[in-house]
């Protein structure tokens, strides 16, 4: 920088106020140390020399409306004070984030344009928490997203590019599963219909992410065939029965965990066992089964794919808090001293 430039920036630093202009033309006078917390403003002051008076106010980006600007300045006002503890800052942030989603989105956008990274992260995390664990319907409702995927697009999976035979095998199973779940939906009564919409998109997610390879080259397994035929005969009544069971379970979806927790193992194990014995696949194309999976595992997979569908809809309690929130103040974890491994999963 030339000497003149340095002299100019020195005088600017000494001045206590900065002038900002929002897109609607209004000009706002802000304390310098607060405004300079935003990299965008900081840059404009130092590099371009603007903002030092009313006449050369800094033009703020389009997305920074007056309401949003005052929110951002509140945030800067709090956080630019160096002496605050982490707890204080977190507590402030939590309260600060209490606003409707519309404003939250606007704030994210504005903070991004002002390059205020801490606020961008904060708002993004908050939006992520809003999205987490919800069904597509719910998310669309919250954010007013257009439901503009065609039915075909929703069902059309993307190709899975890996050649892993296990993946292809699972693709086939999921495709089969999808068909079965659709069948079962037809048996459900109208009241549950609303929840079924979620199921369908969840199934689509399954096939979607795994592709829907209809690989004609299958190896046939006579053992499987026999068992399959036996199953076919039991279909109708058991499908109906287990369809209604599924209904009940979905309504109480929140309480069901797919992996039997050691302590709660008993009740849940019996629940899943009954389901296992009554559940049979409805349609059966013998050619689809690959011999690599033995029947017991196959049944288990079937059950778990179903659980998977439920899981995606239910709220998950947070677990492994101790380990995952390692960055926060926590007491030592309760350890189970059984076996060699540090963490004993209860599965």
């Amino acid at each position: 920088m030339s000497e003149i430039d340095m002299a100019v920036s020195k005088t600017e630093i000494m001045q206590p106020y900065i002038w900002l202009q929002t897109p609607d033309g209004a000009i706002k006078q802000v304390e310098q140390e607060i405004a300079m917390f935003c990299p965008f403003i900081c840059q404009k002051v130092i590099q371009k020399g603007t903002g030092c008076s009313k006449n050369c106010a800094i033009c703020l980006p389009q997305r920074v409306t007056p309401t949003i600007l005052s929110l951002i300045l509140d945030y800067c006002r709090f956080h630019q004070v160096p002496g605050r503890s982490n707890k204080e800052r977190k507590s402030y942030d939590e309260k600060f984030m209490r606003m409707d989603t519309k404003q939250l989105c606007e704030l994210t956008s504005a903070a991004d344009s002002l390059q205020l990274k801490p606020l961008v992260d904060l708002t993004s995390r908050t939006l992520a928490r809003i999205i987490e664990g919800k069904s597509p319907e719910e998310i669309r409702c919250i954010f007013n997203l257009p439901d503009d995927l065609t039915e075909e697009e929703k069902l059309e999976p993307l190709k899975n590019t890996t050649a892993d035979p296990r993946i292809r095998l699972l693709n086939r199973l999921y495709a089969k599963k999808r068909k079965e779940l659709k069948e079962r939906e037809r048996l459900k009564n109208v009241e549950i219909e609303v929840e079924n919409v979620d199921d369908r998109s969840v199934d689509d997610l399954l096939s979607f992410i795994n592709g829907n390879d209809a690989d004609p080259k299958e190896m046939k397994n006579s053992k499987n065939k026999k068992k399959n035929r036996r199953r076919k005969e039991q279909q109708t009544s058991s499908s109906l029965k287990e369809a209604s069971e599924l209904n009940n379970k979905e309504i109480n979806g929140h309480n069901i965990r797919p992996q039997t927790d050691g302590a709660n193992g008993v009740s849940e194990a019996s629940q899943s066992n009954t389901e296992d014995s009554t559940f049979v696949p409805r349609e059966f194309d013998d050619g689809d089964i690959d011999e690599e999976i033995d029947p017991a595992l196959q049944e288990k997979l079937d059950r778990e794919v179903e659980d998977f569908a439920r899981i995606l809809n239910s709220d998950w309690p947070e677990r492994m808090q101790e380990l995952l929130s390692l960055g926060q103040e926590r007491k030592a974890m309760p350890f189970t001293s059984n076996g060699n491994s540090f963490l004993r999963r209860n599965a």
Binding site: K102, C105, E106, T108, S109, D112, V120, S124, L127, A128, R129, I131, E132, G133, P136, R140, F143, N144, L145, P146, D148, L149, E153, K154, N160, T161, T162, D164, R166, I167, L170, S201, D204, L205, I209, N210, P258, Q259, K300, E304, V305, D307, F308, I311, L312, W316, L323, L324, L326, G327, K331, A332, F335, S337, N340, S341, F342, L343, R344, R345
Partner: protein, 437 residues
């Protein structure tokens, strides 16, 4: 008509939001609308957890597919929580290697079960890592070289035997969460000028005799936060630097005879702290220490002290060394007799102090007493404090969850008639064991 504001955000910002989601939710957003259909593929941060997906085969398939369909080959963050028995197909190795690269900033691996890994050395030499969590049973591995010049946060589970000298050599290390199995570490030497937060937690996995740690050495002059938890192992010597920047310390040490020797040393090193929490066993060490000499805790604002059996003498002595103490929380973790309606009639060892501790008279704002047992010594202590705490604002008492209503009433009645030196003191009562709102 409500408009869709969120879609006006640029792709990079939407993707940034998705990066805070568990990956399964992020991929799920492809069902929202056309705009969102392919957004998840721009992700460079991944969070895979088997519990959301349940079945191992399905999990492997999901991770493989997501990783293979990503647009950018660089991964910035990978979090993986899964069972090690996935590794039969070397799946975990495959994913870790996909993530390792010049852009990887954060890796969190929580693998349960035995892991025989060949990728661990590569993790410890991934120079771009800023944050690393490794919890897995890697006992069979020998981590021979560590090159992590940018590493700020490190969390290690107990079955990751790593040379502490190498860890200390990470020049930017600010946060270390070290869960150790004492049988692997006969010595713990931590030398780190950059370290700000340290958690040293002992985890006992094996039922051998209590291991002996010959020496713990902590040389971290910039430390601001310290948590030590020694469950059962016996530490012979402690060499510890002074901590002039200490803000908060929490100490839980098993009551071994050897520990009694150096606990005062530890307190001396912590004398500048603003917050201090002493576990029940730690206090026992203090009680047993002959000629206990407390340093002056000139900046201490908050003290939480847990007693196995209440000892007013030690507490008063400590209070005399904390001239500016504002918050005192006492937790009485001794044996409680449920339903025993007669108060304990052991002779009280309460002796009236010669002069009121400075903090009690001029600074104490909040007093909390958990599991108040209503025995003579505690009552006398309490009476003394209430009478002499001239600026006390709040006194919270937590009665034991097993006490009958009558007991509680009795306690409250007794307390309410105690003379109070502070006119603004409010008494609140809660039952310990229930969440306080």
């Amino acid at each position: 008509m409500d408009t869709d504001i969120i879609s006006s955000l640029p792709n990079s910002l939407l993707c940034h939001i998705l990066s805070f989601l568990p990956t399964i939710d992020a991929v799920g957003t492809s069902f929202l609308s056309c705009r969102w259909r392919h957004l998840w593929k721009d992700l460079q941060a991944f969070d895979f957890d088997t519990q959301r997906i349940g079945n191992n085969e399905r999990f492997v398939s999901f991770v493989d597919t997501v990783l293979s369909q990503r647009r950018f080959s660089d991964i910035r963050k990978l979090r993986l929580i899964c069972g090690a028995h996935l590794d039969s197909g070397n799946a975990v190795g495959r994913w870790v290697r996909a993530a390792l690269g010049p852009c990887l900033q954060e890796m969190d691996l929580l693998l349960y079960g035995d892991v025989s890994s060949n990728y661990v050395d590569e993790i410890f030499t991934c120079a771009s890592l800023v944050s690393l969590t490794l919890v897995a049973n890697l006992v069979l591995n020998n981590i021979s070289s560590v090159h992590l010049p940018l590493l700020k946060n490190l969390s290690l589970g107990p079955d990751v035997p790593v040379d502490l000298n190498l860890i200390s050599a990470c020049p930017a290390l600010e946060y270390l969460y070290f869960i150790f199995d004492a049988s692997f570490y006969p010595n713990i030497h931590l030398l780190s000028p950059s370290l700000k937060r340290l958690r040293l937690i002992e985890a006992r996995e094996r039922d051998f005799d209590d291991p002996i740690i010959t020496e713990i050495q902590i040389d971290a002059p910039n430390l601001e936060y310290l948590r030590i938890y020694l469950e059962e192992s016996c530490v012979r010597t402690l060499v510890i630097s002074d901590f002039p920047n200490m803000m908060e310390a929490s100490i839980d040490i098993a009551p071994k005879a050897e520990h009694v020797d150096w606990v005062p040393k530890l307190l001396q090193a912590l004398s500048k702290t603003k917050k201090l929490a002493l576990g029940g066993f730690t206090t026992q060490c203090l009680v047993k220490a002959p000629n206990l000499h407390f340093p002056e805790f000139r900046y201490l604002r908050q003290l939480r002290i847990c007693f196995r059996s209440f000892n007013s003498g030690v507490l008063i002595k400590l209070l005399c060394c904390c001239p500016k103490l504002q918050v005192l929380k006492i937790d009485n973790n001794g044996v409680q007799y449920f339903g025993d309606q007669t108060p304990r009639t052991e002779p009280s060892s309460w002796t009236q102090p010669a002069s009121v501790p400075n903090c009690v008279r001029s600074h104490l704002n909040i007093l909390e007493f958990r599991r108040y047992p209503d025995s003579l010594e505690e009552r006398e202590f309490l009476a003394y404090i209430l009478q002499n705490a001239l600026v006390l604002k709040t006194f919270i008492i937590y009665t034991n969850i097993g006490s009958f209503e009558k007991e509680k009433e009795h306690i409250l009645n007794e307390i309410s008639v105690l003379p109070r030196g502070s006119s603004i003191c409010q008494v609140e009562e809660f039952t310990y064991g229930k969440w306080r709102l």
